[in-house]
């Protein structure tokens, strides 16, 4: 089963490689990994998407917790959480194709952020499904390059009594 794991860790020399190395040396899978500054200065937040049976996921969260630089580990999978992925897609677009591409961009509420005589570059945000869908829609035009961030996620806050 796919799990989304959120980490808060100290932004120290080698902390990212320690976590990536842990997955490598213990044979765990990384579907995606994304990291950046957290709210508190000096800390990073990392989102890892991985898969495995319950025993492996339990080992992954325990092993991550054991890394000295890691402050907190949350497996978001079993609770409500929000997640997004951002993608930049550079697609072949000669003048004749541009309007067709722009229609697709509109439908996905994406944006064109760069344009050249031969290409347009599109920014899209959403769930992996949506990102996959827009990539698939643009594929027939000729993909020049695709750059995806992987999933970033946060726990959804409690909404009060319903």
């Amino acid at each position: 089963m796919r799990h989304t794991i959120n980490l808060l860790l100290e932004n120290k020399m080698g902390s990212l490689s320690r976590i990536a190395g842990l997955f490598l040396s213990r044979g765990y899978n990384i579907d995606s990994i994304s990291v950046g500054d957290a709210a508190e200065p000096g800390l990073s937040r990392m989102t890892i998407v991985t898969h495995g049976d319950d025993r492996i996921i339990e080992q992954i969260t325990k092993q991550l917790n054991k890394v000295v630089d890691v402050l907190k580990v949350f497996d978001l999978t079993m609770e409500p959480f929000v997640h997004r992925e951002l993608v930049l897609i550079k697609v072949q677009a000669t003048a004749g194709k541009r309007s067709e591409i722009m229609q697709i961009v509109d439908v996905f509420r994406a944006k064109i952020i760069d344009i050249s005589p031969q290409t347009v570059t599109i920014e899209a945000t959403g769930t992996e499904d949506k990102v996959n869908a827009i990539i698939n829609m643009l594929r027939p035009f000729g993909l020049k390059a695709v750059s995806r961030t992987g999933r970033v996620a946060l726990k959804r806050e409690f909404q009060g009594e319903t």
Partner: protein
């Protein structure tokens, strides 16, 4: 409990006086480094100099109170520091140069990592402005050691050095101990900073809070589970030794009346002279220990990790038992075997909390059955008047030292015979590379242990193969007058490999014979200035051992020629279940 000897106390006072005089002064990184070691109470370091650490060696020259042992190879240095740590529980310290110095230490670091040994290894590094340029003697030490360390630091600001040293010692020694590497670029060692000792500052590492106290509800549940069963077994591992929990474990077993089997790494945590002792379990464990596990209805795992050498075929391990698993490292629980009741905490603390809840269990019939097994299936081997059996070597040493010596071993048959036949009565008396299985470990580890415990008898029982991997350290032992005893169980083969080739590869002895090409160990040892004897008969062996025990200044090597093709039994063949063990040649 930490016992402060009078010597340590005067030393600590001297140190604090010294420390005060350096407080706030501007020092070089090398000076700060040496001061920080003294602040941590380090008395001995094992090292080997080289280009980028010259400035540290210049400070060591001026700091005689910090004893530096010059080894012959960095692997030996790391193993010696490891032996020092296992014998005392205090972190062992090794200092090596960059590049090959660091890579040579890697085997020693990996050995310590697998067996949870507190080690702090300081590695020199090329200057920060050359890092990544493939400079002379540059290696990515942080990268290479990352999977085999508990943590590592690269010093990028000399002002942080005291704090990094302090954190390194803290992380190495607390929780589940392990090796920590501190990489010291050359420019950090020669630049200046004001020195503010970090020793007495509280260590604040936000992501590092080992759990020491066990959950009281889980502990109460454990007591209930234990009282409800008829055939419980305590399966105690290296964690009980590391936690110094011999007294608690012994009290617990006796209060509850439960038999105890220890792992290879757990030897010494429960006296083997005790009637409740089952000896070691696993691949070369006793028949009755393995059968007790297979018949048990409850296994209480204490500081053990269900290693594959212990469990045999996992699917048939302890088929009738529920499992209580106590360990300080949450990742150990549920890794190999699912625990019915996990308790995370320091073994000593948990046992202390569990003890008052225990009353004697109804194990009379169970213990009677085990006693019957002990009588019917004792550890055994066939004696011969003509040739020394390797088991007899260990038995002779066990008797001669009353089970009170510190025994260091290499890896292979002699290691298993030592584990089976030496009657350990004290914890921290067994130095063995159980996890990584490092040949060449025993002798240098024995040196480190002897330096840490000068009043104890320290014997390295080694094979003729493993000894040759680190035998050059004889020069170190002679140089510093470290009177360790080295007993070579010499069968002329890489015995354990030969045994497997005999049993599972149709007697095809592929590249395992050492006899024709090994040195004359007596002449070899004597050429270093060590004392050496050879024993080919029982009488020569006993006489050599007696002479060996009277030597208090120099290392002694005894080359004992034993039966060449003796096999180690009982044996659980690879892939078999514990109860499918083989007791003798078929």
């Amino acid at each position: 409990m930490v016992v402060v000897t009078a010597r340590e106390k005067t030393k600590q006072e001297a140190v604090s006086k010294n420390g005060a005089s350096f407080h706030g002064k501007t020092l070089t990184g090398a000076q700060i480094f040496v001061r920080s070691l003294i602040d941590e109470g380090v008395d001995t370091i094992f090292g080997y100099p080289g280009g980028v650490v010259l400035s540290i060696y210049d400070e060591l020259y001026k700091t005689p109170e910090l004893k530096h042992i010059l080894v012959r190879h960095e692997q030996g240095g790391a193993h010696a520091a490891d032996g020092y740590a296992r014998a005392t529980g205090k972190p062992g310290v090794a200092l090596v140069t960059s590049g090959p110095g660091a890579t040579n230490a890697v085997t020693g670091i990996a050995t310590a990592y697998m067996d949870s040994v507190p080690l702090v290894v300081f590695t020199g590094q090329v200057p920060t402005f050359l890092m990544g340029n493939d400079a002379f003697q540059e290696a990515d030490t942080m990268g290479i050691t990352q999977p085999i360390t508990k943590h590592s630091f690269l010093v990028k600001n000399v002002e942080e050095l005291p704090e990094i040293v302090h954190k390194a010692f803290h992380i190495a020694a607390t929780g589940r101990p392990g090796p920590v590497v501190v990489d010291l670029p050359k420019d950090m060692l020669i630049s200046h900073a004001p020195y503010y000792p970090a020793k007495n500052r509280d260590v604040e590492i936000r992501g590092y809070k080992p759990i020491v106290k066990g959950n009281p509800r889980q502990i109460k549940k454990a007591a209930e589970m234990i009282h409800a069963v008829k055939r419980p077994v305590i399966y105690s591992g290296g964690g009980a030794v590391i936690a110094d929990a011999q007294a608690e474990l012994t009290a617990f077993a006796h209060r509850a009346n439960i038999p105890v089997t220890t792992t290879l790494q757990g030897l010494g945590a429960f006296p083997e002279t005790d009637s409740l002792s089952l000896g070691m379990l696993g691949m070369h464990g006793t028949w009755y220990a393995n059968m007790s596990i297979q018949e048990a209805d409850l296994i209480i795992a204490i500081g053990a990790r269900f290693d594959d050498r212990v469990t045999g075929r996992m699917a048939d391990f302890a088929p009738k038992a529920t499992i209580i698993h106590i360990d300080i490292d949450p990742t150990c629980i549920g890794k190999n075997v699912a625990a019915d009741l996990p308790i995370v905490g320091d073994v000593k603390e948990v046992l202390n909390d569990l003890l008052p809840l225990m009353t004697p269990c109804d194990t009379g019939a169970w213990l009677k059955m085990i006693d019957k097994w002990k009588k019917e299936h004792p550890l055994r081997f066939k004696k011969s008047p003509d040739v020394i059996k390797p088991q007899e070597v260990v038995l002779a040493l066990s008797e001669l030292t009353k089970g009170e010596a510190l025994i260091a071993v290499d890896v292979g048959q002699h290691q298993m015979w030592a584990a089976q036949y030496y009657k350990f009565t004290q914890p921290r008396s067994w130095l063995s590379s159980g996890g990584l299985g490092t040949m060449g470990y025993g002798f240098p580890a024995a040196m480190g242990a002897k330096l840490a415990c000068p009043d104890r008898t320290v014997i390295a029982i080694v094979g003729d193969g493993g000894f040759q991997m680190t035998a050059m350290e004889l020069a170190t032992a002679v140089n510093y007058k470290i009177p360790v005893k080295i007993v070579i169980v010499n069968n002329g083969y890489l015995g354990m490999v030969r045994q497997w080739q005999q049993l599972f590869f149709g007697h095809r002895y592929s590249h395992v014979e050492m006899a024709g090409s090994s040195p004359d160990f007596v002449k070899f040892a004597e050429s270093f200035g060590a004392v050496a004897y050879r024993a080919t008969t029982h009488r020569e062996m006993h006489s050599a051992f007696e002479k060996m025990m009277t030597e208090n200044e120099l290392p002694v090597v005894v080359d004992v020629r034993v039966n060449k093709e003796e096999n180690c039994y009982p044996m659980v063949p690879a892939g078999a279940a514990l109860h499918e063990m083989v007791e003798e040649d078929q």
